[in-house]
């Protein structure tokens, strides 16, 4: 087998995973851009989106279940911001971060209670779950359409941010919180809309993500959430194109590392399994630390200076 034929399936799944991370990463990067808060609960919102789809699809037809799931997720993101972050707006940043960790803990425990800790099978969504063959690699259709869906959504989002009034308000708030407030921008509305957009994208992301996985468990959100955050840092936090590019890089790297043993063995570089797959999660963080040490503001982040 040629090198390309061995690598191609991994790259394909990497691009797909990257697209899913990108949709989550936008939620992180937008919130960070405005509130300077690592929203640790965002990964769990993503998990809740997956779980609510499982329960909704059991009782509703799919064409109703999907919109209801999206509405529920958006409502959850909105509620979290209003209940857990808004009262702490004047508090030190550490308190807000702790509150985010608390929300994440609450959502995970709630999911544990509702599911009883069991793996819930994700419903099969027709058409996108179908098997297809592309360039000799067999995969599901969702793998192929994910990057296109992601890029389309990102383009719409970038257009919204650059060409609408609310987008302008968002840019103003992320530049300077207090001045924007003085200029008459309703800061709470802007923040709420940021959370709504983030949760909406996480809901779409969860649909694409869980279709390719056997099921949803309460801890399903943790790792993708962290990786998406790393992607946001990698691309320069606050920058949407940065987060998307970061997410694709991380997705592809992760997928290649998962298959590195197989790839190297097929090329005769190594004779036996080395177990690189163990590091598929850790590699993301290695990448994070490298970028933080050498380019702390990420690939596209703006340089900020501390004032005394």
């Amino acid at each position: 087998m040629s090198l390309w034929q061995t690598i191609f399936p991994y790259i394909l799944s990497g691009i797909s995973v990257g697209g899913q991370y990108a949709l989550i990463a936008i939620g992180y990067t937008m919130v960070y851009g405005i509130l300077r808060l690592i929203n640790f609960a965002h990964g769990d919102v993503f998990m809740v989106a997956g779980l609510s789809m499982v329960y909704l699809a059991a009782s509703l037809p799919l064409y109703l279940a999907i919109p209801v799931m999206i509405i529920l997720t958006v409502a959850l993101g909105f509620t979290i911001e209003r209940v857990a972050y808004k009262p702490l707006r004047t508090a030190p940043r550490m308190s807000v971060m702790i509150s985010a960790i608390g929300v994440s803990y609450l959502l995970q425990n709630l999911a544990l209670y509702i599911t009883g800790g069991l793996n819930k099978n994700y419903p099969e969504i027709p058409w996108i779950s179908d098997k297809i063959t592309i360039f000799g690699a067999t995969t599901t259709r969702v793998t192929v359409i994910t990057p296109f869906v992601t890029i389309a959504l990102v383009l719409i989002l970038v257009w919204v941010i650059n060409h609408t009034k609310i987008g302008m308000a968002m840019r103003a708030v992320s530049k300077d919180f207090e001045t924007a407030q003085l200029m008459g921008i309703k800061i709470n509305n802007v923040i709420s809309i940021t959370f709504i957009i983030g949760s909406f994208l996480a809901a779409i992301g969860s649909m694409l993500f869980f279709t390719n996985y056997p099921g949803v468990v309460p801890t399903s959100g943790g790792m993708p959430g962290l990786k998406a955050f790393v992607a946001a840092v990698f691309g320069g936090i606050g920058s949407i194109p940065g987060a998307v590019i970061g997410a694709f890089i991380i997705g592809i790297c992760e997928s290649l590392i998962k298959g590195l043993d197989t790839i190297l063995m097929s090329q005769g570089v190594i004779a036996e399994q080395i177990g690189f797959a163990t590091f598929s999660d850790a590699f993301t963080f290695i990448l994070l630390i490298i970028i933080l040490v050498f380019k702390p503001m990420g690939l596209f982040g703006e340089k900020q200076t501390d004032k005394v």
Partner: protein, 399 residues
């Protein structure tokens, strides 16, 4: 000065009395008793108390928001486990690998100097566990301590995940047993002291004692010039630097000290649970420890201890009925089923985080005067409740 000495003497007496009570409870309560939960709480609580205090040293006193605690505890737990598995049991533990370490420190020492050697061996293994965690902290600290708040948090979190992956790597199987767990090492449930015919059970006393000593040392560090320098860095880095405090040096010192004690608490955790498994030391564990610190009050050592014991006793003991259908006489099997305890518990935590941001102690320490003033304060607080409720309803949206 004289007053200080008297205070120190009183607190020493209190600690000794407390240790005496623990030793007594250890003998009186049998594992089958209803009250045996108390021993579990004391054991686990002391593990988490040390972990929380060591995290507070870094996050509360030095102001470095690090989320890598679970990683250092993992290093401690594994180091301790690897060093104390008896040689005979190794083949059984390392089923798929050829064990690389072929000795156990307690075993070697007990062959040399008798039963006291086992205790000494355990102690040495615990200290080595701390030192290895400290060494890793030094290496990790070199690149990450330059980072600022959020970035530091996420980088340390990342390192904890990397450490976990390394310990689960199959190529290190001869040392760490790959992704399988380590067991069969010296654990607290077997700690006993034979005096003549009488066997003294030490299974709760030992972890409580280790935690007490370590926390005592942390209190001493906090009150030393180093501790003051840490607080200065937290309050204002630039001012601290202007006063001649070497930022990089002190940050590293705080990071390594904190990790040293995190390593020891990891070793204690292995001892108490009698297994060490990398997959237990997830970031969720760091979050739990952080929530204990917040519950007790960031920047208060006694607060962290209270927070840890409260966290453990609530989640392990007092709310347990919520999982099994009956709690405080209320029976509702439909709602009170598996996991409900944790939901109630996390709601309580969220209430503390949102409305009692200072936690139980704020940044004050528990002192004798405070305990003496309690009855009066509680009375005043109860009296002020109607007023508070009133003001809650008449509150206008503050801008």
């Amino acid at each position: 000065m004289k007053k200080d000495n008297k205070k120190n003497f009183i607190s020493l007496v209190i600690v000794l009395v407390f240790l005496g009570i623990v030793l007594l409870l250890d003998q009186v309560i049998k594992p089958t008793d209803n009250m045996s939960m108390l021993l579990t709480v004391l054991q686990k609580g002391s593990v988490y108390a040390l972990a929380a205090v060591s995290m507070n040293l870094l996050n509360g006193f030095t102001g470095l928001f690090s989320l890598g605690h679970a990683g250092f505890m993992l290093i401690g737990a594994y180091t301790y486990a690897m060093l104390t598995i008896p040689d005979a049991a190794r083949a059984d533990v390392y089923q798929y690998y050829d064990p690389a370490i072929r000795f156990s420190i307690p075993e070697v020492l007990s062959n040399g100097i008798g039963p006291a050697g086992t205790a000494l061996g355990v102690l040495i293994a615990v200290i080595i566990a701390g030192l290895i965690a400290c060494l890793f902290a030094y290496l990790i600290g070199l690149p990450v301590l330059k980072l600022k708040s959020d970035y530091l948090a996420i980088a340390t979190l990342g390192f904890a995940e990397i450490i976990r992956a390394i310990f689960q790597w199959s190529k290190l199987g001869p040392l760490t047993n790959g992704s399988n767990l380590l067991k069969g090492f010296e654990r607290t449930s077997t700690f006993k002291l034979a005096i003549g015919d009488f066997t003294l059970s030490l299974s709760t006393f030992v972890p409580v004692l280790i935690a007490t000593i370590c926390i005592w040392i942390i209190v001493l560090i906090k009150n030393s010039t180093y501790g003051r320098a840490f607080v200065a860095i937290r309050d204002d880095e630039i001012a601290a630097e202007a006063m001649g405090i070497d930022l990089a040096h002190h940050k590293m010192l705080s990071f390594c000290t904190s990790s040293f004690f995190a390593g020891i608490s990891g070793a204690m955790m292995a001892m108490v649970l009698s297994i060490a498994q990398a997959s237990n030391f997830r970031s969720a564990m760091t979050y739990e420890i952080l929530l204990m610190v917040v519950l007790g009050g960031i920047g208060s050592i006694s607060g962290s201890v209270i927070g840890a014991f409260l966290f453990i006793s609530t989640s392990e003991w007092w709310l347990r009925g919520l999982d099994s259908g009956k709690w405080l006489g209320i029976s509702a099997p439909g709602i009170f089923r598996n996991g409900f305890r944790l939901v109630v518990f996390s709601v309580i935590i969220m209430i503390v985080v949102l409305f009692f941001r200072k936690g139980i102690m704020g940044d004050k320490e528990l002192t004798l005067e405070m305990v003496k003033a309690w009855p009066k304060n509680i009375f005043n607080w109860i009296r002020s409740i109607p007023k508070k409720i009133k003001s809650l309803f008449s509150k206008k949206e503050a801008k």
